[in-house]
C-alpha cells in the first residue's frame, strides 16, 4: 500500500503539465475544427466569425461536391490503388519473408541485405529516372503502374516486418509440418499465414496509409483527370477555386473525414508497424 499512497502524492501528470498539454491539444485541434466548420460559412463570415458556429448549417457546398464528378471518382481511384497495393505487397512480402525465415539456401543473407537497401533511401530520390522507367514500360497514367511501383517501394519495410514476425514463430511447427511431408508452399499458405494475421493487419494498414496519402508518385505518373487520386483531385480543386475558402474547406473536410475515421480505428496497427519495424531496423 505504501507505494500507492506515494504515487498519489506524486501524480504522473502535474496540473501545470495538464494545462500545457491542453493548450497543445487545442493548438492541434483548432485547424481541424475551423476547417470542418468553414465549409458551412460564407467567405465574409470566416473573417468575422472564425471560431464560432456558422450562422446557418446550409450544406449546399457539401452537397455540390458530393454530386459533382470528381469527389467520388478520385476517392474511388485512391481506394482502388490502395487496395491493390496492400493485397500485392502483403502477398509478395510475406512470401519473400517466409523464404528468408524458414528456407535455408545459399545467398539468403545476401539477398535479404540487398532488399534491405530499400530502407536506406526514400522513393523521392530517384523519382525522375523512375518516371522514365515507367514511361518506357508503358506504365504512365495507369493505376496498375502506381500499384506496382508502390509495392516495389514498400517491399523492404514489409519484408522486414514479416521477417521479424516469422522468426518468432515456434520452429517445431514448421518442422512438424515438414516431417508430415508438407511442402514449403503449403506450409506457407496453411500454417504460417493463418498465424500471422496480426502482422498482416499491421503491414496492410501501414501500406494502405502510405498509398492513400501518396502524392509525389501519382503527381508525376498520372495525367488524365479521370485517373486522379484524391490528393491530386484536391490540389486541382484548390487551383480551380483559388481562394474560395468555404468551398475548399468543404472539399477538404469531405476528403479527410473517411480517412481520419479509418485511421482512428486502425491506429493500433499503424503504431505497432512504426515501433515494431523501427526497433529492429
Amino acid at each position: 500500500m505504501a507505494s500507492t499512497t506515494r504515487r498519489k502524492r506524486q501524480p504522473a501528470v502535474s496540473p501545470f503539465q495538464w494545462f500545457t498539454l491542453l493548450i497543445i491539444a487545442a493548438f492541434v485541434i483548432v485547424p481541424f475544427y475551423t476547417t470542418a466548420l468553414g465549409g458551412f460559412k460564407e467567405i465574409g463570415e470566416l473573417r468575422v466569425n472564425a471560431f464560432g458556429l456558422p450562422a446557418s448549417w446550409d450544406p449546399i457546398r457539401f452537397v455540390e461536391i458530393l454530386v459533382g464528378p470528381s469527389y467520388f471518382r478520385s476517392l474511388g481511384n485512391s481506394l482502388l490503388i490502395a487496395v491493390g497495393t496492400v493485397v500485392l505487397s502483403t502477398l509478395l512480402a510475406s512470401m519473400t519473408a517466409f523464404a528468408f525465415a524458414h528456407i535455408k539456401f545459399f545467398g539468403s543473407k545476401f539477398l535479404m541485405s540487398y532488399l534491405m537497401l530499400g530502407l536506406l533511401f526514400p522513393s523521392a530520390t530517384a523519382i525522375l529516372p523512375l518516371f522514365i522507367k515507367m514511361r518506357d514500360l508503358g506504365l504512365l497514367d495507369s493505376h496498375l503502374g502506381i500499384i506496382i511501383v508502390q509495392v516495389a517501394f514498400s517491399i523492404s519495410f514489409s519484408v522486414l516486418l514479416f521477417h521479424n514476425f516469422f522468426k518468432e514463430l515456434p520452429k517445431e511447427l514448421i518442422d512438424a509440418a515438414r516431417m508430415d511431408n508438407c511442402g514449403y508452399i503449403r506450409i506457407y499458405w496453411y500454417v504460417t499465414l493463418p498465424l500471422c494475421l496480426p502482422i498482416i493487419a499491421t503491414v496492410g494498414v501501414f501500406n494502405f496509409v502510405g498509398s492513400w496519402n501518396n502524392f509525389l508518385l501519382p503527381l508525376i505518373a498520372l495525367n488524365s483527370d479521370a485517373k486522379y487520386t484524391w490528393p491530386l483531385g484536391i490540389m486541382q480543386f484548390q487551383g480551380e477555386f483559388g481562394s474560395d475558402w468555404p468551398r475548399i474547406l468543404a472539399f477538404l473536410t469531405l476528403s479527410i473525414l473517411p480517412a481520419v475515421l479509418f485511421f482512428l480505428a486502425a491506429q493500433r496497427y499503424i503504431i505497432s508497424g512504426l515501433t515494431g519495424g523501427a526497433v529492429k531496423g
Binding site: 512480402a93 528456407i103 535455408k104 532488399l115 523521392a124 516495389a152 517501394f153 475558402w245 480517412a259 482512428l264
Partner: protein, 309 residues
C-alpha cells in the same frame, strides 16, 4: 552450405538429407523470391543506377543518351542559386526537429506514457495530424495562414498587431512551415517515445521512487537512458523525413516566394522534373542519395553501439 547441414537431425544421413532439401526447396524459392526481387530491382535499384548514369549526360529524356558532360551537371547543381537555399532549408528542418520537435515530443511522452482515459484521448489527438495526408495538412494550414480569411489575421487583430501574409513573406515563410511540420510530426515522435517508455520495467522506476529519487532525476538518469534506442530511431526518422520533405511544401508555398522555401525534393521537382532536365535531376538524386546513405550508415553505427551497451 553449412547452414543446410544444421537442420539435418540424426536419423537421416546428412548427404541424403541435403539432396532432399535442395529439390524440395527449389520450387518454393522460385515462387517466393523472384517477384519481390524483380520488382525491387526494376523500380527501386535500377532507377537509382539510372540517376547516376543520367547525371553525367545532358539529356532531355528523348532519343539516345550520347551527350557526355562529365561533372558539369554536378557543378550546375552546386552553383545553382536556389540549391543552397534548398539545402539550408532542409537543414533548418532537421535542426528544428531535433531542438524543438523531439524535446516537445519527449516531454509529452513522459506525461502521457501512463494509462488512463484522458491520457489516451490526448495521445490520439496528438497523433491525428501524423495520419493526415501531407497535402491535406498543407492546405489546412494554407487556410490558417491566409492573410485575408485565415486564422492568423484574426489572432493579429486580437493582439492588435498587423500580421504579415506569412507564406508570401521571405522571412516568415520558413518559421511558418516549421510550425506546420512540428504540428504534423511531433505526435509521431511522441508515439515512438511512449512505446520506449512503456517497455521500461515498472519495478525499476518504482524502486527509485521508493528510494526518494526526485521525478526529474528519474527522468534524467533512468528513463532517458533506457529509451535511447527510441531516441536514435526518432532522430533517424526526423533526418530522413527532412531530406524527403515535399508533399507539405507544394500546397503551402510551392517553393515560393521567389524560391525561398524549397527543400531538396521540391528543388528537384521544380528544376529537374518539370523541365525534364534528366542530367541535372540525376545529379540532385545522387547528392540526395549520398546524404541518405551517410545518415543511414551513421545511424547504424550509433544503433550498433546502443545494442552493445
Amino acid at each position: 552450405m553449412a547452414s543446410l547441414a544444421t537442420s539435418a537431425k540424426g536419423i537421416v544421413p546428412t548427404v541424403r538429407r541435403r539432396r532432399y532439401m535442395d529439390r524440395k526447396s527449389l520450387i518454393p524459392l522460385l515462387v517466393f523470391l523472384p517477384p519481390s526481387l524483380i520488382l525491387f530491382t526494376v523500380f527501386v535499384v535500377l532507377p537509382m543506377v539510372d540517376a547516376a548514369t543520367f547525371s553525367f549526360f545532358d539529356w532531355n529524356g528523348y532519343g539516345p543518351i550520347t551527350d557526355f558532360v562529365g561533372f558539369e551537371n554536378y557543378a550546375d547543381v552546386l552553383t545553382h542559386r536556389n540549391f543552397g537555399t534548398a539545402v539550408r532549408n532542409s537543414l533548418i528542418v532537421v535542426a528544428v526537429s531535433l531542438l524543438i520537435q523531439l524535446p516537445l515530443a519527449m516531454w509529452a511522452a513522459l506525461a502521457l506514457s501512463e494509462r488512463g482515459v484522458s491520457i489516451n484521448v490526448l495521445r490520439t489527438i496528438f497523433f491525428v495530424p501524423f495520419m493526415l495526408a501531407e497535402v491535406a495538412a498543407g492546405l489546412i494550414w494554407k487556410f490558417v495562414y491566409d492573410g485575408n480569411y485565415g486564422l492568423l489575421p484574426i489572432v493579429g487583430d486580437a493582439l492588435q498587431v498587423d500580421m504579415p501574409f506569412v507564406l508570401a513573406d521571405k522571412f516568415w515563410v520558413i518559421p511558418a512551415i516549421m510550425l506546420v511540420i512540428t504540428w504534423k510530426y511531433f505526435g509521431f515522435h511522441m508515439m515512438i517515445f511512449i512505446a520506449g517508455l512503456q517497455s521500461i520495467p515498472g519495478e525499476v522506476v518504482e524502486a527509485a521512487r521508493l528510494d526518494g529519487v526526485k521525478k526529474w532525476q528519474i527522468v534524467r538518469h533512468i528513463k532517458l537512458p533506457m529509451v535511447r534506442s527510441a531516441i536514435v530511431i526518432s532522430v533517424f526518422f526526423a533526418i530522413t523525413g527532412a531530406l524527403q520533405l515535399f508533399d507539405i511544401i507544394i500546397p503551402l508555398t510551392n517553393g515560393g516566394p521567389s524560391h525561398t522555401s524549397h527543400t531538396i525534393v521540391t528543388f528537384l521537382y521544380q528544376f529537374g522534373i518539370l523541365r525534364m532536365k534528366l542530367g541535372f535531376g540525376g545529379a540532385v538524386s545522387v547528392i540526395l542519395f549520398i546524404a541518405c546513405v551517410v545518415v543511414a550508415l551513421a545511424y547504424r553505427r550509433i544503433l550498433f553501439r546502443v545494442e552493445q551497451n
